[in-house]
């Protein structure tokens, strides 16, 4: 794959850098006093170079981007240093100067194209706006140029796209429009703020390819902000790792990845899921399935009689259809797929949250509808959700939350509930005195641990994990995954792990099934992931996500899949 060859190495550095941030510091004035947001940050980017700024949420990476563009909150204050754009200091520029410069010399691409595009304006107008403003074009000229710009980003029918509103396009199309707008005036610097995070794997991959191609064509300098270390190696030649507003490590990609010096960098690299670092328990020997889904389907939005009358073609939408899969005792089955592929739909059907057709079997018992699920089944099959912020009732203490399954399933005498709650907290490595706290007093990772403890409190035989690591930072993700495997080992429970993170699932799972548009398209043992017999869609997914290698493996950091 040509796109994986980095082309921005070894630029001559005789000329001045496009962006030169020198010992820059920034603070927010708050009621509690001044809090430092950026502390002595320095970085330089030359023409044609891509510099990755890596950090977890709250590290200050986006703050730096806003500081460079001088788009800052009213209580933000520069407390030292300089930000030079081709030698000109950005600090102290007036509003008119900034307006003339933004979009022309610095442009930006944002994380979520559906919120960064104006919902009530045609895409064409949003794109041509910069051409009219900065390149002095007339409306007609700008429209022609806009179509050409869209065509360059690989949009098939640019003229039609220009007339559309954002809600009429897919996420990938929208992000292409944003990118076309950013490149429209040939800026010196473009800041990419996690431009692929909100997109599906395959779309994200195409957007990355597009970025690499346009960078080569234009020679723009790019600051690429991301939390994804795996991605960095594919696009950047220089890396800065930012932590709590400070750059803790900076240098060439090879040096930072090959011989990380700062403990934080090492921690981040260690937390990257690598398929060959197997976390999974030994594969179960028993062949009788614990849980089976046979021809299970879930229908959404069955049309009402009036709609059917008016529109003969109206039909229900299938969230998932003809799904047949099984899980053996103690096994971890991975389900992967993009958003809308039906993977969560099946999880909800298996836990009685969605009505379903077909049959679900569990240890020899058969269930034909969700009404047949009795308390015993519900106790044996537990589910954990994606968002730690919404999976715990905010008005209940942690102790109250954890004692609920104990009382509901009568798992221990009333007098021992408190003691058991303490044990559960300790089991997920949380202090026992958390029992009296409320969810909002916990961090995201801690909340997710509580949700896990609640599921395991029921002493289940199958735990369904629906994207439970997706909303967490990399380092927390790894810890949660390890915890899950550890609990599985202790309890012997089987697990269905739903995720879009292919590297993670290859660490955890014994077998993997792949969902695409509501259908199960592939099922295989983890060891066979690289086999040429895989379904083309599976291969595409695997190819889209490079496998990070260990720091010791120097030469080519991101080896494409075989």
């Amino acid at each position: 794959m040509g796109s994986r060859i980095r082309t921005d190495r070894g630029k001559p550095q005789s000329e001045a850098p496009v962006l030169d941030v020198r010992h820059y510091s920034m603070a927010y004035d708050t009621e509690a006093g001044t809090t430092t947001a950026l502390d002595d940050v320095s970085l330089m980017i030359w023409r044609g170079e891509t510099h990755a700024l890596v950090g977890e949420s709250g590290s200050g990476k986006s703050t730096l981007a806003w500081a460079i563009t001088r788009y800052m909150a009213e209580n933000a204050r520069d407390t030292g240093g300089a930000i030079l754009l081709s030698g000109e200091d950005m600090i102290g520029k007036g509003r008119a100067e900034l307006e003339a410069l933004r979009g022309r010399r610095i442009a930006m691409v944002y994380q979520d194209p559906s919120s960064s595009l104006n919902p009530t304006m045609r895409l064409g107008e949003q794109l041509t706006e910069v051409l009219i403003r900065h390149r002095g074009m007339t409306k007609t000229e700008a429209w022609v140029e806009g179509e050409a710009a869209l065509a360059r980003t690989g949009i098939v029918k640019p003229a039609e796209m220009m007339m559309r509103y954002p809600h009429e396009c897919s996420g990938g199309e929208k992000q292409r429009v944003v990118i076309a707008t950013a490149f429209a005036c040939n800026p010196e610097l473009i800041i990419f703020d996690e431009p692929t995070t909100a997109l599906d794997i395959l779309t994200a991959n195409q957007i990355l390819d597009l970025f690499i191609r346009l960078r080569e064509e234009t020679g723009v300098a790019a600051l690429y902000i991301t939390h994804d270390l795996g991605l960095v190696a594919r696009i950047a030649s220089k890396v800065s790792v930012i932590h709590k507003g400070k750059i803790v490590e900076q240098g060439d990609l090879e040096t930072v990845f090959g011989a990380p010096e700062h403990p934080y960098t090492r921690k981040l690299l260690a937390a990257l899921p690598r398929p060959e670092d197997r976390l999974a328990l030994p594969a179960p020997t028993e062949d009788t399935p614990l849980f089976e889904a046979r021809d299970v389907g879930v229908q959404y939005n069955a049309p009402g009689w009036l709609t059917r009358l008016l529109d003969k073609s109206a039909a229900a939408h299938w969230g998932a259809r003809n799904i047949t899969l099984d899980v053996r005792p103690g096994e971890l089955l991975g389900i992967v797929g993009e958003s809308g592929s039906g993977k969560s739909t099946i999880a909800k059907a298996a836990t009685g949250l969605n009505p379903f057709e077909g049959e679900i079997r569990f240890v020899g018992r058969s269930f034909a509808s969700r009404d047949a699920f009795d308390r015993k089944y519900r106790r044996d099959v537990q589910i954990i959700f994606q968002h730690p912020d919404s999976s715990l009732n905010p008005r209940e203490t942690i102790g109250g939350i954890l004692s609920r399954p104990l009382k509901l399933y009568k798992l221990c005498p009333a007098g021992e509930v408190r003691q058991r709650v303490r044990e559960l907290l300790e089991m997920v490595l949380l202090p026992a005195d958390y029992a009296s706290r409320y969810p909002h007093q916990l961090s995201g990772g801690e909340k997710q641990r509580v949700a896990i403890a609640r599921a395991f409190a029921a002493e289940p035989r199958l735990v369904i994990c629906d994207e439970i690591t997706a909303a967490l930072d990399v380092s927390v993700q790894a810890a949660v995954a390890r915890l899950l495997v550890d609990l599985q080992k202790r309890s012997g429970a089987a697990c269905i792990f739903i995720t879009h993170d292919l590297n993670l699932i290859r660490q955890l799972a014994h077998r993997i099934v792949v969902f695409q548009r509501g259908a199960l398209v592939d099922a295989f043992d983890v060891a066979d992931a690289g086999s040429p017999e895989r379904h083309p869609y599976t291969q595409a997914l695997l190819n889209a996500v490079p496998v990070p290698h260990r720091p010791e493996d120097q030469p080519d950091l991101m080896e494409p899949q075989a």
Binding site: G352, D374, R378, Q382, I383, F385, N393, R404
Partner: protein, 272 residues
């Protein structure tokens, strides 16, 4: 509470409400004169040392009348709101929890009721129930019911799809437990906020009904009625319409500001 006192509007709201509630509880005790005592020599006077807020057409002390009218005015607002919010919330929660056909039938009927301007609806009901404070209160409560039901329903719906509710469902909790322990405590915020703001509307509508002669009857010291009675004399002594008018405004303003501050405090987007 601390969050409410952080915004200037919240502080003003709390101050006004404190004054109003103080007058409501102690008003009749601290009134300097008998609110019904005629004084032929001191008719339609402006503020003076003897009568701080002046006197009305019969020489009755306005301050005393305002103070003695406070309990009935505020009680009217609170009573009508509690009734309307109570019934409306029950309907709304039932619609939100039941979903499906029950929900759509209830909502259609509510839409029809909401399609009539509020005051018109109240007037119709009051006319057919007959004038008087209790009837007026009932009428306002009935008028509030559909709007409150809507708000309660949407509060329930927004909570119902949260993951902790799904988790309880998946666990096999009973419906009563899910509604009582997981849904309601979390849906209460918006309902309380709306109720607070509605108290001010109830007071205003109650006063309007009194003004139109359909609510409290003379010689009551209900504030709306006071304005109506003094209207003939408004050019000779503007104080006798201005004082009860402003009393209504202050009370309504207090509940309004407090309700808005409460909303901001509940709204996680604006809080810290």
């Amino acid at each position: 509470m601390r969050k409410i006192l952080k915004s200037p509007t919240g502080i003003i709201g709390v101050i006004l409400l404190t004054i109003v509630l103080f007058a409501t509880v102690f008003g009749p005790w601290i009134a300097p004169y008998d609110p019904q005592a005629f004084d032929a020599r001191a008719r339609l006077q402006g503020p003076s040392m003897a009568h701080w807020l002046g006197t009305d057409q019969y020489g009755r002390d306005l301050l005393s009348r305002i103070l003695s009218g406070a309990p009935s005015t505020v009680a009217f607002g609170l009573g009508a709101t509690i009734l309307g919010v109570g019934v409306g919330s029950v309907i709304g929660v039932i619609a939100g929890v039941a979903g499906g056909r029950t929900d759509s039938i209830i909502m259609r009927i509510l839409d029809g009721m909401l399609a009539m301007p509020e005051l018109l609806f109240t007037l119709l009901i009051v006319t057919f129930l007959g004038g008087g404070t209790t009837q007026a209160m009932l009428a306002v409560a009935v008028t509030f019911t559909p709007g409150m039901a809507r708000i309660a329903r949407s509060a329930v719906l927004s909570v119902r799809t949260r993951e902790y509710v799904l988790a309880a469902q998946a666990r096999g909790e009973s419906r009563a437990w899910i509604v009582g322990r997981e849904v309601l405590p979390n849906a209460l915020g918006p309902i309380i906020v709306e109720a607070t703001i509605r108290v001010s509307f109830a007071i205003m509508i109650g006063a309007t009904l009194g003004f139109l002669g359909l609510g409290a009857q003379p010689p009551s010291t209900e504030w709306g009625l006071m304005v109506a009675e003094a209207r003939q004399f408004m050019f000779r002594n503007p104080w006798c319409v201005a004082v009860p008018g402003l009393a209504i405004a202050i009370t309504a303003l207090g509940f309004n500001l407090f309700g808005d501050a409460l909303r901001d405090a509940f709204d996680p987007k604006r809080g810290h």
